[in-house]
C-alpha cells in the first residue's frame, strides 16, 4: 500500500519540480519544497481515487510549501533585481507608441484548453527574467494578493505593477511569436 504511494509520488515528482522551479527560480529551494511536499504526503497518506486526485492534493501541499520557501528566503529575494529591463524601450517608440501594433488574437477559447498551448505558455514563463517570473507565478499561479507579494519580496506596489507589466509584455511577445503567429500560419 505505502509502496504504491511512494512509487506514485516518484512519478509525480518531475511535474511538481517543474512548477516549483518556475515559481522559485532556484533549483535548491525548489528541490526542498518538493521534498517537503512528498514527505508530508508520506506522513499522512490518504486513499485516492486515481492519480489525478492525488496530484490535485499534492499541488495543494506544494503551494503551501512554496509560500513557506518564499517566506524563509524573503531577505534574499528582496535583494534580487531584474537590472533595468529594457523590454518597454523595445516595444514602445520614443513617442510612446507601439513599435508594432498588438494584433487581434480573436477569441480562441478552444485553443487555450489545449495541452500544447500550456507547454508553450510554460516555456514562455520559464524565459522570463527571475524576479518577473517569480511575481508572475505568485500572482497567477499561487494566486496571492498584491499586498502579500509586496510584503514577501520587499517591493512597493509600484515596483510590483511594473514587474508584472513587464512580465506580461514579455509573455505576450513570446506567445505571439510561438503560438499565435505559428498557429495562424498552419
Amino acid at each position: 500500500m505505502t509502496s504504491t504511494l511512494a512509487s506514485d509520488l516518484e512519478q509525480l515528482r518531475p511535474a511538481l519540480l517543474k512548477f516549483a522551479r518556475l515559481q522559485l527560480r532556484n533549483s535548491a529551494w525548489a528541490e526542498d519544497a518538493v521534498g517537503e511536499t512528498l514527505l508530508a504526503a508520506l506522513e499522512k497518506p490518504r486513499a485516492f481515487e486515481g492519480r489525478s486526485q492525488l496530484k490535485t492534493w499534492l499541488i495543494g501541499i506544494l503551494k503551501h510549501k512554496l509560500v513557506d520557501q518564499i517566506r524563509r528566503n524573503s531577505r534574499e529575494l528582496s535583494l534580487t533585481r531584474d537590472d533595468d529591463d529594457t523590454i518597454e524601450d523595445a516595444i514602445f517608440g520614443q513617442d510612446g507608441r507601439w513599435v508594432e501594433m498588438p494584433a487581434d488574437w480573436g477569441n480562441p477559447e478552444q485553443e487555450l484548453g489545449r495541452v500544447e498551448f500550456f507547454s508553450v505558455l510554460e516555456a514562455c514563463v520559464e524565459k522570463l527574467p527571475g524576479q518577473q517570473g517569480r511575481v508572475f507565478m505568485m500572482r497567477e499561479w499561487l494566486e496571492l494578493e498584491s499586498e502579500e507579494i509586496c510584503k514577501q519580496l520587499g517591493l512597493t506596489p509600484t515596483n510590483l505593477w511594473v514587474l508584472l507589466h513587464r512580465a506580461r509584455l514579455r509573455l505576450r511577445e513570446c506567445l505571439q511569436l510561438h503560438w499565435f503567429q505559428s498557429s495562424a500560419g498552419s
Partner: protein, 65 residues
C-alpha cells in the same frame, strides 16, 4: 488632446495594473478614453484578458494533469 504624456506606453501599464488593483477614477477615465481611440491598446487589453483566462485554465490543468 494628450491624455497620456507617454501615450500607449502609459496606457499599457494601466491596462496591466487594472488586473492587480482597482484603478483610480482619473486613471479609469483616461484609460477608457485612450482605449476608445486606440485600436492597438484595445487589442493589448483583450490579449491580457485572454492571457489571464488562459492562466486560470493552466492552473486547473497543472492540478489535474
Amino acid at each position: 488632446m494628450h491624455w497620456f504624456q507617454h501615450g500607449c506606453r502609459e496606457a499599457a501599464l494601466l491596462v496591466s495594473k487594472a488586473l492587480d488593483s482597482p484603478l483610480t477614477r482619473t486613471e479609469g477615465l483616461r484609460l477608457a478614453w485612450h482605449l476608445w481611440r486606440c485600436g492597438g491598446c484595445k487589442n493589448f487589453s483583450r490579449q491580457l484578458q485572454l492571457m489571464h483566462k488562459a492562466g486560470a485554465r493552466w492552473r486547473a490543468y497543472s492540478e489535474q494533469e
